[in-house]
Amino acid sequence: MNWFRWSSLQQFYPAAGKLIPWFASLAVAFMSVGLYQGFFVAPTDFQQGESYRIIFVHVPAAWMSMFLYVIMAGWAAAGLGLNAKPSFMMAQAVAPTGAMFTFLALLTGSFWGKPTWGTWWVWDARLTSELILLFQYLGFILLHGSIDDLRRADRASALLALVGVVNVPVIYFSVQWWNTLHQGASVSVTAAPKMATTMLAAMGLMALGFWMYSLAVTLMRMRCLTLERERHAAWIRGLEES
């Protein structure tokens, strides 16, 4: 088992290194086309004027904040279930990017709320649960950092991540469960989209770009974590400095 764990990181490290430039290029490509589509093709909204264009960064960031939490919790669960260090490390690699997107979702939401609702912030269900998600990410990172024994840090923070996953459906359904100031879902699986196709395309492209960005950055962080945590392993010592 021990041998397997070492060898899987050893294989993962160079494979991730090869994948990063591809994900990074795709991220740049999707975001470039998405921004063009969002600012030059998508029309002015008949209700909100130009202010709605914040949606092209707000909704993809909010989606990523939830997706990444679920992915992080999934790796945490795999780590606890299989007692596998690389899984714990993947959870660690996802967390800062998830926290960043949560922060951005809150910030861009604030910039959208001011002109449309007349306020930067309200304590309604959607905004509050998203703020709690930011604290969950920060708590996960801080808890891991505060425990010196990395094995215990891995297990404790993984448990915290797992417990916190209940907040994700709360965020998602908050606009249905409670009477919120936040508007309902713009896109859903069951209903027809409530947006023009050109707007939807811009949002979809930006979301794809954010996905590719997250993959690239997570793999970069996973490689850093590998270098830091496995530095006594023979194969790490044999790596060429580049």
Partner: protein, 59 residues
Amino acid sequence: MQWNSFGEFLAMGGYGLYIWPSFGMTALCMAWEVAALRVRRTAALRSLSRPAAGEEKAS
């Protein structure tokens, strides 16, 4: 295209002050994250080639 001039594009129908910080901060955060990871990688590689004595930590 709905913009007749660059000034009109920047003004965003009066919402420029809300739209541009949203996109700007997103770009800034992403650029910062990538830069920070590059710095971290360089530091990790450097500490591999020059292992400091007594910096052992449970792994």
